[in-house]
Symmetry: C2
Subunit: 440 residues, 2 copies
Amino acid sequence: MTAENKAFQKVTESTATNPIQGNPYGPNPSDFLSNVANFQLIDSTLREGEQFANSYFSTEKKIEIAKALDDFGVDYIELTSPVASEQSRKDCEAICKLGLKAKILTHIRCHMDDAKVAVETGVDGVDVVIGTSKFLRQYSHGKDMNYIAKSAIEVIEFVKSKGIEIRFSSEDSFRSDLVDLLNIYKTVSKIGVNRIGIADTVGCANPRQVYELVRTLKSVVNCDIECHFHNDTGCAIANAYTALEAGAKLIDVCVLGIGERNGIVPIGGLMARMIVADPDYVKSKYKLPKLRDLENLVADAVEVNIPFNNPITGFCAFTHKAGIHAKAILANPSTYEILDPHDFGMKRYIHFANRLTGWNAIKSRVDQLNLSLTDAEVKIVTTKIKKMGDIRPLNIDDVDSIIKEYHGEINTPTLVPKMTKSDEEPLDLSDEPAAKKVKL
Amino acid sequence: MTAENKAFQKVTESTATNPIQGNPYGPNPSDFLSNVANFQLIDSTLREGEQFANSYFSTEKKIEIAKALDDFGVDYIELTSPVASEQSRKDCEAICKLGLKAKILTHIRCHMDDAKVAVETGVDGVDVVIGTSKFLRQYSHGKDMNYIAKSAIEVIEFVKSKGIEIRFSSEDSFRSDLVDLLNIYKTVSKIGVNRIGIADTVGCANPRQVYELVRTLKSVVNCDIECHFHNDTGCAIANAYTALEAGAKLIDVCVLGIGERNGIVPIGGLMARMIVADPDYVKSKYKLPKLRDLENLVADAVEVNIPFNNPITGFCAFTHKAGIHAKAILANPSTYEILDPHDFGMKRYIHFANRLTGWNAIKSRVDQLNLSLTDAEVKIVTTKIKKMGDIRPLNIDDVDSIIKEYHGEINTPTLVPKMTKSDEEPLDLSDEPAAKKVKL
């Protein structure tokens, strides 16, 4: 652990004073249902992620990704349905044979044809899904709720008879009729599924809706609740967190969130969210320093760049720029960081080469350069740097040159240039900017 | 309006059956405080966004961005403090002189030195901020709450005396002591600020915390509430939405969310969230088809790419791939789209050239190619396409070739090759894949 790392003062929801915990009437009893400190991850990069526009995974790449996910510590790995194509079936079998710690699931339609193929692949469990909203019932499969219940029971009992895990999920849950939903979930819960799933298939749900639905379901079923959130309206991570607060147990994630349209909950963003809530649980369970490699592996495979604003691994996620921010970060990183970059094998960076910089950031740079300037002198040189930053974008060399030039000026005001090595080094007459030259 | 556009069946929270609205005890009285259908945007691309690692905006670029924001319809444009640098002050004055519809604000520390400069720039209002968390009080400005209140009163009364708008915001509000917060907000509300601001400066807040704090503040202040959410843990958009539900009125946004670290609420993502909640309000107020140009303008200026998974404008935000999805989208786009791409000047795309494709998507392509195949025949050719898709990534040409080849086979089973133009066109003996050749 580096000195910088040690200096990081952890601030978590459990220690920080916040409005909810400041409630003088004591903790809300409903919080005892929360699974924020006891959640599991179902990674669907090799199922939902295969539905991402750019995805084409060869068998070798699927195996490489599955191993990396297992190494990171995900609890489940979900694979494309074995009936999607012949190679999909073979790949499913191959991944089951790897002997990973993570349990292997495959994801099928609620139909016996699919179930019969799925149970023969060697998976640890089957995820069954069927659309329940009026949209999907009318335009997708055309079946009513009675038919759905009948198929569900048949498929669930068949999968259970094979001794493997079974999850039943509705699709488009947030546009389904609540009574229909509760009916079907109550039915499958009675038969004894391992998990029920709710899915925000179109990405329309908002956090308080999610909380209400999960909380309602908790009183209807006695199995675990899994949640699948699309990110069309940018709420997938928050919805996942709120679902766990309400008592859901498992969250579907993908590396970088890849999936249909703009995807689902990204594993990295969810780690950022969860480590704030329970750092010990998250750090003990998942190998966070492997996150960057995992994301790079998948980004390369599907030929996308890591988004510039990606949580944790975006190029500037730990870059501090404004003078006020830099000053405080130098005094204590907790001031402007809720995440410690070292937990993820990353580093923070103070961006001091710009017109928004402040004298504390420049003083820190002066120290790094091993030069000696008083605070008053640092303030003068900071003004010079900000002035230059008003004229054009600066880089570190620019700032260093301005500092060194000023340092030279005030330390050798009357000295004539030293002529050491003058024979070998003639005066520089190139057109390099004056600011880049260090006076002797 | 195209035929495709007309076919889009809108689904909004107000018409969809959802758990909250299905509550048999009627609407929750607390929803009367919601501003989901009555919110305003404060764009901070030229303030918070200037604190983004890559930002360097020339005067000309600032003016171009300000005009584009104004054209899009933002209510306020917030600019970097005029004391940040001499050019920042001049740019602030220049933008105030543009005569935009949007009100111009500048953002300063809670200090008379800054306030005196700010009110002379010609802005319509001043946004004042000071850190109130124990972290910022200890490591940033080093002042106690009494000092903060005293400075706040002095600055607020001074700005008010100039007849322009004044907002007072705490910084790091979600790690501040609740009683301290309520005290200071009650004080400034009594003096008569236009808005109070709460800021999740480190990106630690979650939706239910946000709801609680905003709802509590609603009973303490009688001015508008503005919210500023950082995105370190991926919850900025959801927090903004939940704040509006609780009764906040204004949200700070940036184009692409650029700002310190990985930024704040992105204007595009928030539009996606809000149009689902109240399409009429959002479409009447903001020129949504200009979103893409606005994002491209800023992305170019700060030298980043639009993230692959960006809401609305990400390259695949309206791409549908899995066979089940494609089938339903072709029948009714509402099945798998909560956003209508046409509202944003975008188009949807059915990705049919892959092994997850289904026969409905291929049938649609057959129709586009103006070929005639029965459903049974389409299913056969779909199997051929999926088989090829198992071997390697496909493009549209591959699929078209397979379809045309099959169409040729079944329509001319006994015909000998026609010799039309055979003199000019000898038999093709190149090594082009067989699948790409169309039999006569």
